[in-house]
């Protein structure tokens, strides 16, 4: 299967947009614009861009904590994603959630639940609803290698398989949880996702920095799910360039490891070079995309910075359906 020029362009643009977004967020976090802590997905753009382009707006998405890109590409007004991170009233969640909790039911971004692993059972529910209502919507759930330690992964995969639920597990294996390398705390055959065999779920291990490979594998998994054939695990091998969070010195990992990934395995550089050498795009066309991305980021940033903060009393809204809560 050869990808169309349009698809390649979108994949490329989306990766660049995520990269630029994360760089900007990192910068503004360090400048003090962003409260709390921020998990950046720099280096992992292909995982998010590749999978997201295979999904429809009506498909359910469960991003994980390192998934700004998923939120950006889900159909939400992008500036409202950033406004959320900036703790603004115009944020897609009203500034209540921030970087870890960007939700938008309109495009079925079901949000990240900051209790790692919890989404691995919640995702059964949306997939079940699609099955129940006989729609063809699939549910894509993002999950890191570290999170695989949690019991919900097991409860979830067993039921997903048994009920043939339309789920795509996007296992983003970036080699580390926080400080622990994947093989130092998990016992598994060759690949972490090989455990899927125990539930009769097919798994595929993919170079997560090869966006074309990710896209193709995801498209296949999505088709399986839509066709009622049940869940698939996609294990995407990748790496986070940053530490656990913006500002983490990440002393727990060797410097050259990071260097290799940055210099030799950048997903964006890789696609760029391929598109140019395959003569699908000229270098100028590609540069133009990069420029566009920065412009789009500028727009978001302006919106986020200029947006007002929430009013204190906004905290009292929507605790209960149909019941008020007392303020001060």
């Amino acid at each position: 299967m050869n990808l169309s020029k349009r698809v390649l362009k979108e994949l490329y643009y989306n990766m660049v947009l995520i990269r630029d977004f994360e760089d900007m967020v990192d910068k503004y976090a360090k400048k003090g614009y962003i409260p709390g802590f921020i998990h950046l997905s720099t280096g992992q753009e292909a995982c998010q861009a590749g999978v997201m382009l295979t999904l429809k707006e009506t498909d359910y998405k469960f991003p994980d904590h390192r998934s700004h890109g998923v939120c950006l590409l889900s159909g939400t007004p992008k500036e409202r994603v950033l406004a959320e991170i900036f703790a603004k009233k115009t944020g897609i969640s009203g500034g209540r959630g921030g970087s870890m909790h960007i939700l938008d039911i309109k495009c079925r971004n079901m949000g990240f639940n900051a209790i790692q692993g919890a989404n691995m059972v919640t995702c059964l529910g949306t997939a079940f609803a699609s099955q129940y209502n006989n729609t063809q919507d699939v549910t894509a759930v993002f999950c890191g290698d570290g999170t695989i330690g949690r019991g919900e992964v097991h409860e979830g995969m067993n039921i997903a398989a048994k009920w043939k639920l339309p789920i795509i597990y996007v296992l983003v294996n970036n080699e580390y949880a926080i400080s622990t390398r994947v093989e130092s705390v998990h016992s598994y055959p060759k690949n972490l996702s090989d455990r899927a065999w125990g539930y009769c779920i097919p798994n595929e291990v993919i170079d997560g920095n090869d966006v074309i490979a990710v896209y193709k594998a995801s498209a296949k998994a999505v088709k399986r799910a839509r066709d009622g054939e049940g869940p698939t695990v996609l294990e995407l091998l990748t790496y986070r360039w940053q530490g656990m969070f913006s500002g983490d010195p990440a002393a727990y990992r060797p410097k050259d490891e990071v260097k290799i990934w940055k210099e030799k395995r950048c997903p964006i550089k890789r696609l760029r070079e391929k598109m140019i050498s395959d003569k699908i795009f000229s270098a100028e066309e590609v540069d133009e995309l990069n420029k566009q991305s920065l412009e789009e980021i500028e727009g978001m940033l302006k919106y986020a910075i200029e947006s007002p903060e929430p009013e204190p009393q906004d905290a009292l809204k929507y605790i209960y359906a149909g019941k008020e809560v007392e303020g001060r």
Partner: protein, 325 residues
Amino acid sequence: MRKLSFGRAINEALDQEMGRDDKVFVIGEDVAQMGGDFGVTQGLWKKYGEKRVKNTPLSEAAILGIANGAAMAGLRPVAEIMFADFITECYDQLVNNSAKVHFMFNGTVTCPLVVRTVNGAGFHAAYHHSQTPEAWFLNVPGLYMVAPSTPYEAKGLLIASIRNDNPVIFLEHKLLYDMEGEVSEEPYTVEIGKAKVKKEGKDATIITSQRMVYLALEVAEELSKEGIQLEVIDLRTLFPFDKDTIFDSIAKTGRVILINEAPKTGNYVNEISQTINEEMFEFLKAPIKRITGLDTPTAFAPKLENYYLPGKKDIIEEVKEIVEY
């Protein structure tokens, strides 16, 4: 009126709601063919089929995960957790997910699910099959909690809970399942958030719920012979609880006894007490007393378990103390 057991009343509520709204489905361990460990869901699988009556493996976190996800996607799950003691295994889904969904989505999504579970001591089933989780969930904004004491109220409150857009923990006391009572055949609701005065009196107010309502009524009956007139309030909804009914009673009696079968320290009723203290202090003629289970796990041997549970004697003593205060 026709009589039904508490268990059958709940069954009828489920049946009628499933008939009315095809978004309602039932999920849990053994709820399908077998009809649940206590037989409460019997007949539903046959009538509504595999699609709407879902057996799960022993996976409490997943049961609530499915309920949460499905509720967010617009369905109305009724999940059964076989014993309330096992709710510890899906505590995260309830505390960090169900309770917060509406908040997380900034009001654009609700989480209309019901978790039916079986609580209470007196069944000689020891400490992992006898607990009452009320207080575990009270300091968690976002959850409703309902605990009926009669078949009539069980049916009406369950229907109201299913139709409510908030996540509701619905407690069924295992020793009440076989109790019979009059239940209307047609579907009806009992309003969530409304307590009921089960006996009027002027000397002191007993506030309680579930099985303890009957103990309170017995004591009230007995003490009325001695000229002490107790008012007995059945909370029915534990959260949001009915301040008006409680305050009206206290304005009259000025004396309060709270009864609950969970352990004493950190008991649910502390919230009722503190609320009364804050808003009705000037009416209080005596300290608010609580009569609860002991601060121990619930032991197996009937001798031990009975000792754990509040008894008539304990209540009578406290009533006399505050009435004479």
